[in-house]
């Protein structure tokens, strides 16, 4: 909503600068900015008159104008199609600077010298209109500084309105708040309406078939009007509001809408087939052309104003093309109606239109402003079109809307706000915004019908505090509510996962939740996904059903940007269709490329064992048991390197290498290793905190064992065997070397184990340990054909 500063000044006495006024309005609930109408400097821009014109030789569109600026005649070349002798215009002389920093200098066009420029509105920065030069009335004195002379040396306040502030959709509405803030009163315009004797009711009959959608429809008839341009004062106000002037009739309806906030529509009365108004729902398939030239096929959702035969307007949205006011119009039917907000909302959604009228009706207009707007516009039409106003308003208002009366308890106001505002101050504020007050102990507040959003005591409380200022509410720093709130276990688990994985050098990525349907189908193996009915982009059409998608997409993005060594993890939601849809969290981890090269270490290539280490680190730290891994195929993984991760109660997730064809979908050619773990399954596996183990009293006996086995023998099998044979005296076993090489032969590997023997009850004898160690070595020889290298 754009409100000219000068217009507010006409209506209210206040002394604030435009910037200060904007700040006051912002703090009273409407975010407001004040800007000069145009940002160009005013120097060397004056009123001039085109004395004579001639063609510029050799050009089909340039005109040489002789312009008188009050003192001298200047030759000015002009390219506008509408330049003509006798026009008063705005002349930018040499030294002026127009919109976009365009500087006026002496110029030569087609060999003709030019000493200035005749300006369009766009060049002056006052609108986007560049269809021709701006032509003024004759009343301005030649040579006068133009902006001051025509009253455009002004500021415009732009208000960013929240949906509850329909009352600010007019200059008068804003003035009402300004008056309250400034402690003054609005000076309402006064006028005398002169009507001719003929009764309007004889010329038009009004019927409403759907009084819920259209509770009120009123009209006046004005005849013998002469269509022409509006006087400058009307054009000026519209320009300042950002509305393009069209002709006197249309401009007056727009002016009154800006002034009072009630939309009006002017019909060409002679285009009505029947001299009546029937407000009804459109029929299914009914055709209608709006005045912007668009053809619509309607449905009963659209409220149609008809002349009893055919549509003439879509109620509250836009008038029809056929009954539009034109140069030939002589009799105008002026509509001032009140349409129900949801009806207008559905109509304009159906039509795909948003208009100044629909914005106002949708947010809520004042049914009791209908007549005021009608009379004001009729008066102006009488003054500025020469029209005769027929006697009376034809008004169909089946269910009159009365002002709401609300009981407001001053003590409740202070109880909600935590304030100490005296009752007298509450009364003052409310009276300043034209609320009626009766003091009956509590306040009986009569809410004016323009305050459409105020229906309850709490709404009145908001009005009071808004205008008193939120600074009036103290800052109370006593804690309220429960003494203690626990930190949920899920949150703790998340924190712990993050803590461990970042400590392991994994960077956390983020899952946006949406995916490309086709791509996701390939990654998930065509698992069903939740579809978005109104997607924002072609590649964001379904909800992610596996966190693997985020891992692959991020790897793709990073590798494309040459970040080829990655250790990533994500904790993200996945979604599966159902009633209700299933939402659960997954933990995804990915490694690819190699570790960092340092002066002490060459970065090794990252692979399965890095990932396994990360998985076991975060699960182990959270006391979640990993029992083992078993081969299990997954749609996106390479079958030869794909395993299920087994927990105490079944599968926790999977781990493996991404299939080459899948990686290619994300433009990745390098090998990607991924692990995906169900958050809930892992979380359920969190074991109890174990009691402490007493520290050992007796010495440990360490022994090493190196064996050569066939490549196909798994290290885990050997470890299991060693543990089993070692029994209770074997405290721990670990692998400290793995070696493959010519010395031990093809298809063989050497594994070296480090064992610690200990008894909790006594010191072990060397012979006893050696015998047990030997027994273990023998068992590996027997069980796996191991060649004992060192024992």
């Amino acid at each position: 909503m754009n409100v000219p500063y000068s217009w507010l000044k006409e209506l209210v006495d206040f002394s604030w600068s435009p910037e200060e006024l904007a700040n006051r309005l912002t703090l009273a609930g409407a975010e407001t900015e004040a800007e000069r109408l145009t940002d160009i400097p005013f120097d060397n821009i004056v009123i001039g008159r085109v004395e004579e014109i001639s063609k510029v030789p050799g050009s089909d569109h340039l005109t040489l104008a002789t312009v008188f600026d009050g003192r001298e005649k200047l030759a000015v070349v002009c390219g506008a199609p509408n330049v003509a002798a006798g026009q008063n215009i705005i002349l930018a002389k040499i030294g002026a600077e127009l919109k976009g920093g365009f500087k006026i200098k002496k110029a030569k066009l087609r060999g003709v010298e030019s000493f200035g420029m005749i300006c369009s509105e766009r060049e002056l920065g006052i609108s986007d209109d560049h269809s021709g030069i701006m032509v003024l009335e004759d009343s301005f004195s030649l040579g006068a500084p133009a902006f001051e002379a025509i009253g455009l040396d002004d500021h415009v306040l732009s208000l960013d309105l929240t949906p509850n502030r329909a009352d600010l959709l007019s200059v008068m509405g804003v003035a009402r708040d300004v008056a309250c803030l400034a402690g003054s009163k609005i000076k309402y315009p006064t006028y005398m309406l002169e009507e001719v004797r003929d009764e309007a009711a004889k010329f038009i009959k009004i019927d409403i078939a759907d009084p819920e959608a259209c509770p009120r429809y009123a009209a006046r008839v004005i005849r013998n009007i002469k269509i022409g341009p509006s006087p400058w004062w009307i054009k000026r106000k519209l320009l300042l509001c950002g509305i393009r002037p069209i002709n006197n009739v249309v401009d007056i309806t727009n002016l009154v809408m800006m002034e009072i906030g009630h939309p009006l529509h002017a019909f060409d009365y002679d285009r009505f087939l029947r001299k009546e108004i029937l407000v009804r729902r459109a029929q299914e398939g009914e055709k209608f052309a709006t005045l912007d030239g668009k053809e619509h096929v309607l449905t009963p959702e659209v409220l149609l104003i008809t002349d009893g035969e055919k549509g003439v307007a879509c109620g509250g949205v836009m008038g029809g093309q056929e009954s539009e006011v034109s140069d030939k119009t002589t009799t105008v039917l002026l509509e001032s109606a009140y349409f129900n907000a949801p009806t207008v909302r559905r109509s304009r959604q159906k039509l795909g239109l948003i208009t100044e009228a629909s914005i106002r009706f949708e947010k809520g207009c004042d049914p009791n402003a209908v007549e005021k707007a009608l009379d004001r516009a009729a008066y102006l039409l009488g003054e500025y079109t020469g029209g005769e106003i027929l006697n009376g308003v034809v008004d169909c208002y089946p269910n009159k809307k009365y002002p709401v009366v609300i009981k407001v308890r001053p003590e409740r106001v202070n109880a909600v706000l935590g304030t100490d505002i005296p009752k007298s101050r509450m009364v003052e504020i409310l009276q300043n915004i034209e609320y009626g007050i009766k003091d009956r102990g509590h306040l009986e507040v009569t809410v004016p019908t323009f305050a459409v959003d105020v229906t309850r005591e709490i709404d009145v409380i908001e009005e009071i505090v808004r205008l008193e200022g939120y600074d009036a509410v103290p800052t109370r720093d006593k804690n309220k509510g429960p003494l203690f709130s626990p930190y949920p276990e899920d949150e703790q688990f998340c924190d712990n996962i993050r803590r461990i994985l970042t400590a392991q050098g994994y960077d956390e990525i983020y899952s946006g939740g949406m995916a490309d349907k086709k791509l996701l189908e390939q990654v998930s193996g065509a698992q069903p996904a939740v579809e978005i009915l109104n997607p924002i982009a072609d590649d964001l059409t379904v909800m992610e059903n596996t966190i693997l998608f985020t891992l692959l997409k991020s790897a793709g993005h990073n590798i494309a940007h040459r970040n080829v060594d990655l250790k990533l993890f994500v904790i993200g939601k996945i979604y599966k269709p159902g009633a209700p849809p299933l939402e659960e969290e997954e933990i995804g981890i990915l490694v690819t490329g190699k570790g960092e090269d340092t002066w002490y270490n060459r970065g090794a290539s990252l692979g399965f064992h890095d990932l396994k280490g990360a998985v076991e680190a975060f699960l182990g730290w959270n006391r979640i048991t990993v029992k083992g891994y078993e081969p299990a195929a997954r749609p996106a993984l390479d079958a030869a390197e794909s395993m299920a991760i087994l927990g105490a109660d079944g599968e926790l997730g999977y781990i493996g290498a991404v299939g080459e064809n899948i990686a290619r979908l994300f433009d990745v050619k390098q090998k990607l290793w991924v692990a995906v773990i169900s958050f809930n399954k892992a979380r359920r596996g969190i074991g109890p905190v174990k009691p402490y183990q007493p520290l050992p009293k007796y010495p440990a006996a360490p022994r090493d064992l190196a064996v050569v086995v066939d490549e196909k023998v798994r290290a885990g099998e050997l470890l299991d065997k060693i543990s089993k044979e070692g029994g209770s005296l074997l405290e721990s076993v670990s692998i400290f070397d793995l070696f493959r090489g010519k010395q031990i032969g093809d298809g063989k590997k050497s594994l070296a184990f480090s064992m610690v023997y200990r008894s909790p009850e006594r010191s072990l004898e060397a012979e006893e340990v050696n015998a047990l160690h030997q027994k273990i070595a023998e068992s590996l020889k027997e069980g796996f054909g191991a060649d004992i290298r060192e024992a």
Binding site: P163, L417, I461, Y487, T502, A503, Y506
Partner: protein, 337 residues
Amino acid sequence: MSGIGDVHRILAEALAAVGSAQSRPELEAIGVKYIGRKGEITSVLKTLKDLPLEERKAFGAAANEAKVKLETAIAEAVQKFAGPALDPTFDPTLPGIVHRLGAIHPINKTMGQIVDSFQRMGFAIAKGPDIETEYYNFEGLNFPPDHPARDMQDTFYVEGGLLLRTHTTPVQVRTLEKVKPPVKCITPGKTFRNEAISTRAYYVFHQVDGFLVDEGVTMADLKGCLVAFCRDFFGEKLKLRFRPSYFPFTEPSAEVDISCFLCNGKGCQLCKFAGWLEILGCGMIDPNVLAKVGYDSEKYTGYAFGMGVERIALLKYMVKDIRLLYENDIRFIRQFL
């Protein structure tokens, strides 16, 4: 014009200072004071060119000598404060051996900090589904059907008449339905809006909403809570500004601006020269919302607030393009170690 006597006096003064210096930095300062680029002896040397030749010779020699003496004295004195001589094969300047740490994503990092702040004020954490019903996302929060307030939040719809929640406020309704007052919760989580992707907007973002319902909760309590949070999060000296606003589920409603933490409200690029940064929305819970969950809105009042995690992260880290938060580029993420 200084004479040779002055040079001697300055030198004596400098040597005395060297004698009483207690540390290396002190000695370095003495060097700067007397024989640095703008030092006292250096300045004397610079005036030489204006002197007659004879004087210039004598004076120049004295000043040069003073300079050398002082340099030597300082060099000797520095030895006093030097540590033991190092083994040449021991190079302490090689980088330390470290296992590179991973970074937490800035959204989660910021969200964690916000949650932590409210946790310390006694707020519990409540969560709800991302795929919501029309009721919890809108009706239950006093968004009437066919009301322009619906346009404030462009919504994604999915099958089954469901939608992707446009804010985490539905969790407020879900929580209030389940528990009895007093109730004090924050509801961190993911939200979605069908808005064109730009440097300032993305289709998914995060919110931390919060609410308190009890007997006698006032707007003054709301201000107290948010002042405490903003100062905890952005700094002690922060100023707050509460402006009237509109949300269907609160009344009265407010937007909260903080004084720009970069320029302290003087006006800079970050705050677009306004001196204020819009940081969150809040208000007293609308009686309609309380009534819908079966609370007696005469007896109980409550406040609610909500903030965008991304907005706060962008401000805090001065990131100009929100899309960087979602690209998962590790060169970006690793800056948040």
